[in-house]
Structures are given as structure tokens and as C-alpha cells.
């Protein structure tokens, strides 16, 4: 069985993990166009080479990131999401205009 190293729990069988899609820097939800937001949410670049991906260790519900070569399926490194996210991401709603 393949093994993957969780940054919190260590090396575990791949069956304990769930793939979470490619990592992309999130666009500003207040200023990005619907097209850019849809691109971020739904579309993958599907690069042949080294990509950064979200993975979840399902036994602990721990989400982390992995750099993986999609050609060789070699995992270069895994790391905690707080290397990128230092603080909670807030989604502030745009104040809606009141109609008279």
C-alpha cells in the first residue's frame, strides 16, 4: 500500500487520506469577477509536474498540503496549512443596497 506522511500524525496508509484538489491562492471574493471565482472554485490546472494539493487525514480530519509530482507520483513534501494561512479567512458580506 502507498504511504503518505501527515504533518500531524506521521506516516499512514494512503487509505486513511482523502484528496482535496489543487491548491490555488484564493482571489479576493469582493473584487474578483464571477468568472475568476468560478475558475478558483471549480477548475483545475491539471499540470504535468510538481503541484501543490490539499489532502485530509480523515481519521483526524486534519487538512494539510502536499507537493507532488504528477508525472512520477512522488510526494516531495507535506506541510501544515498554517505555513500559508496565518489567520482565519473571513468572508465579509457586501452591504446590500436598500430599495425604496
Amino acid at each position: 500500500m502507498k504511504l503518505l506522511t501527515c504533518p500531524l500524525n506521521g506516516k499512514r496508509n494512503i487509505s486513511e487520506f482523502t484528496y482535496g484538489g489543487e491548491y490555488h491562492a484564493m482571489p479576493d471574493h469582493l473584487t474578483s469577477s464571477p468568472r475568476d471565482w468560478a475558475e478558483h472554485v471549480f477548475f483545475h490546472d491539471n499540470v504535468a509536474g510538481i503541484v501543490t494539493e490539499w489532502w485530509c487525514h480523515t481519521a483526524s480530519s486534519f487538512w494539510f498540503l502536499a507537493e507532488r509530482n504528477t508525472i512520477t507520483d512522488e510526494v516531495i513534501r507535506t506541510f501544515k496549512a498554517d505555513e500559508i494561512y496565518q489567520q482565519r479567512v473571513e468572508f465579509t458580506a457586501v452591504a446590500s443596497e436598500t430599495q425604496s
Binding site: 500531524l8 500524525n9 499512514r12 496508509n13 486513511e16 480523515t58 481519521a59 483526524s60 486534519f62 482565519r88
Partner: protein, 242 residues
């Protein structure tokens, strides 16, 4: 011993039907009913001996609580509990309760097996007050409702686990106070080694909706070693040995 009826208790284990059909006798620990032993009173001595070798016990009606979030560790510390320095380790409190650090931002607190510690009750009361000034940094996880709590005890426990768990739980590799969050019998579980007296004990916390499956799997796995279900009285006796 007075015969206690679990149908009158505030909460019952999801395994209650199995306990009743195995002629369980219950004892009151705090406001909770836990299986004391199975069969007649003479079986306590036999179950105590079995718990030293290989046995399983349902502790699911005992108190437990969890907290998650960036502010959770400092908030739990402010409640005068000692936190483990590292994730996936535990610290036994002076009160007898067990504080487990599941990640840098997640804490689990388990009652002692005599249910004498008031830590879980105190934390749940404080959380209610604290959440009136909710600042999104501490999230309560009511583990009573989400996770079953089983104890697998005895010198053969780690050998039994090797059949159903990919993590090496041999006692010289997986020491007292360490935690493995992994898959047990294809079920996600938190395995906490917390020895009682001189006997290795592994607490298994898993999704409460699947506890009947997990209970049957563990009983099946321990059958070849002669293991069987015991009541909490056997575990309590283990704490007296050194």
C-alpha cells in the same frame, strides 16, 4: 448490590442491548450508569484477571468533552488544566481526568473511570458562559454525543490490534500517554494509551453511530486470544495494582 435499570438513566450506551442480553449488572458513577460486570458478583474477580490479559469495556456513558480552535488550548489552560506539550499526547490531571491534545488547536478531556473528577462538568459550564462572548476562537465539541468510548486492556491488546490497525501499537513502540488517530477495523478512531496500574490500556474513541460494528469487530478480533467484555469494576481494580 442494588439492581440498577439503565432505562431510567439520563443516557444509555448505544451498546445497551448487547450489555443487557449479556446479563450485565450496572453501577452508578456520578449520574451515569456503566456496566459493573456481567453475570453474577463472583465474576468480578474473573473479569479483573481477564482485564490484565485481554478484555474490552464500554465507557461510553462517562463524561467527556472537546474544544477546537486557535484559542482552545489557552482557554483550556485558563480553566486550570495542564496541557500536553506535544500534539498526540496526553497529560493525567491531579483530579484524575485525562487531557489529550489531538492537534495544536484541538483538546479532548476524558473523565476518570470512577467519574469523580468534575473537570468535564466544569468545562461544559464554563463554555456556556464563555460562548455568550463568543469570539470564534474556541468551539465546543460535545464528545458525549459524537464519540463512543471503549477501553481495550491487557498484555495481549497490542497483538490483537495488529490484526485490525495499521499503526504499530506494541507497547515498546507506542508508549503510555501517546495517541494514534488512525483506522481501526476500517473505522476512523482515536486510540489513546492510558495504562491503569501496570496493565496496558488503550482507549478507543470512534463515531458513536458505528459503535455496534466496532464492538463486534473488537470482540471478534480478541476471540482467538480468549478476550471478552468486562465491566468497569475490573478496570477500576487495575488502578490499585502497581
Amino acid at each position: 448490590m442494588a439492581i440498577l435499570d439503565p432505562t431510567t438513566a439520563p443516557r444509555r450506551s448505544q451498546l445497551n442491548q448487547r450489555h443487557v442480553s449479556s446479563h450485565a449488572l450496572f453501577k452508578e458513577l456520578g449520574s451515569n450508569l456503566v456496566v459493573s460486570h456481567y453475570g453474577d458478583n463472583d465474576s468480578i474477580i474473573e473479569e479483573h484477571s481477564q482485564a490484565q490479559t485481554l478484555a474490552i469495556c464500554d465507557l461510553s456513558t462517562l463524561p467527556r468533552i472537546g474544544f477546537k480552535g486557535a484559542g482552545a488550548p489557552s482557554w483550556v489552560e485558563a480553566q486550570k488544566l495542564n496541557l500536553p506539550a506535544m500534539a498526540n499526547t496526553t497529560v493525567l490531571q491531579g483530579s484524575g481526568s485525562l487531557v489529550a491534545k489531538l492537534s495544536d488547536q484541538e483538546i479532548l478531556v476524558l473523565s476518570d473511570i470512577f467519574a469523580q473528577s468534575k473537570d468535564v462538568f466544569h468545562l461544559s459550564e464554563q463554555a456556556k458562559i464563555y460562548h455568550k462572548n463568543y469570539d470564534k476562537q474556541v468551539y465546543s465539541l460535545p464528545r458525549d454525543d459524537s464519540h463512543c468510548w471503549l477501553a481495550v486492556s491487557g498484555t495481549l491488546a497490542s497483538e490483537m490490534f495488529s490484526k485490525i490497525c495499521g499503526v504499530d501499537l506494541r507497547t515498546h513502540k507506542f508508549s503510555h500517554s501517546h495517541i494514534a488517530q488512525t483506522s481501526v477495523a476500517k473505522t476512523n478512531a482515536v486510540v489513546i494509551r492510558n495504562d491503569l496500574g501496570s496493565t496496558p490500556v488503550f482507549y478507543v474513541l470512534s463515531d458513536i453511530s458505528g459503535v455496534e460494528f466496532l464492538w463486534d469487530c473488537l470482540l471478534d478480533a480478541m476471540q482467538e486470544y480468549g478476550g471478552y467484555a468486562v465491566g468497569v469494576s475490573a478496570l477500576q481494580r487495575l488502578t490499585k495494582e502497581h
